[in-house]
């Protein structure tokens, strides 16, 4: 009797498994999306001195460097990309109160100051090139301690994506 009962239980279990398996065999159709790659762009720039690297001589209090052209080119890509340009100099802490570095779109002094990012609402597109006029000056009241000291240790150009 026990053997029969065990057999019946196994039989029911097998039937349930078979039933569950067959329930999965419903119709199904699968389709791949369009074979189109979607790529992201890039915001990359190069910067150069088109007239040669500047050879700024020693700055005396109350004087400025010769104007220099700094060319910035976007080498990235982006269908809707808009970017702004900025330029800044690395100035030692001791000299910061007395040294001024500035960049303009157009002529130095009379063009549009670039500051840390211009224009505020981006207008440069991917692949566009912009020339900046840069100049550094030493305040008339600069202390004697800055004599012979490095005043500018590098210039950094920044491109920033604009969202408005």
């Amino acid at each position: 009797m026990r053997t029969m009962r065990t057999g019946a239980v196994i039989g029911v279990a097998l039937a349930l498994v078979a039933g569950a398996t067959s329930a999965q065999a419903l119709w199904s159709a699968t389709l791949a999306g369009p074979a189109v790659p979607v790529r992201s762009g890039d915001l990359a720039i190069t910067a150069s001195w088109p007239n040669g690297a500047p050879t700024w001589g020693p700055l005396l209090p109350g004087t400025a460097t010769a104007d220099q052209i700094l060319r910035v080119s976007s080498t990235g890509a982006g269908t809707t990309l808009r970017w702004a340009v900025g330029a800044a100099a690395t100035i030692p802490a001791a000299a910061q109160p007395h040294v001024t570095f500035a960049a303009w779109i157009g002529a130095c002094g009379t063009g549009t100051p670039v500051g840390q990012g211009w224009p505020a609402a981006g207008s440069f597109t991917a692949g566009q090139t912009v020339d900046l006029c840069v100049r550094a000056s030493l305040a008339a009241g600069a202390p004697q301690t800055l004599s012979g000291a490095p005043l500018i240790q590098g210039v950094t150009v920044t491109a920033t994506q604009r969202s408005s």
């Binding site: 419903l26 119709w27 389709l31 791949a32 999306g33 790659p37 992201s40 915001l43 269908t79 809707t80």
Partner: protein
């Protein structure tokens, strides 16, 4: 005078004789039994339409791309030019993709799902989002899944949006390729 012997004296049949008689009787019965199938018979073909199975299928219809940039409004991108598009942070690239759905069956219902798992490289998943909607067709049945019945068959307007997170910093996510052919649209007959 010649003496004769009376051979007519009754004798009991032998066992062998009994066996032969039994076989003969059985054979006769069998022959008679076969003959009993020869009664009248008739048949009538049932007049009814053929029974035809239904259908379930899925195909890509027309598609239209548009790009809504961080600056400016949405712009339609001709399909021939989509390969030249380069998306940047803040962009939303939209594909209006028609799906041709075949659902034939008196009781058929099906679940339309889209699997976007393999579209975005795992290392770039933080910067991109892929979402799917099917417009007003069907009933939502979980994430990226919609339940359709026979009345929903035909052209199902699916919308796929690829969003490049506007908060993406530095140059994260640059020059990344999203493989839309890794999208899987699946239409599966509903089990319940």
């Amino acid at each position: 005078m010649i003496a004769t012997t009376d051979d007519t004296t009754a004798r009991r049949p032998s066992s062998r004789t009994k066996g032969i008689l039994a076989i003969a009787a059985g054979t006769a019965l069998l022959i008679g039994g076969t003959g009993t199938f020869a009664y009248w018979s008739t048949q009538q073909a049932l007049t009814a339409d053929d029974i035809v199975s239904g259908d379930l299928d899925l195909a890509l219809g027309d598609g239209e791309w548009s790009l809504d940039g961080a600056i400016g409004g949405a712009t339609v991108i001709p399909a021939a030019n989509i390969g030249a598009v380069r998306i940047v942070p803040g962009d939303v690239l939209t594909l209006q993709q028609d799906l041709d759905v075949t659902l034939v069956g008196d009781t058929i219902e099906a679940i339309l799902t889209i699997d976007t798992t393999d579209v975005i490289p795992a290392s770039q998943a933080a910067y991109f989002d892929v979402a799917f909607t099917s417009g007003a067709i069907g009933t939502p049945d979980g994430t990226n899944a919609f339940r359709l019945d026979e009345d929903d068959a035909g052209t199902v307007p699916a919308t796929l949006t690829i969003t490049f997170d506007a908060a993406t910093a530095a140059r994260d996510g640059v020059n990344t390729t999203l493989d839309l052919s890794a999208l899987d649209f699946t239409l599966t007959q509903a089990a319940s």
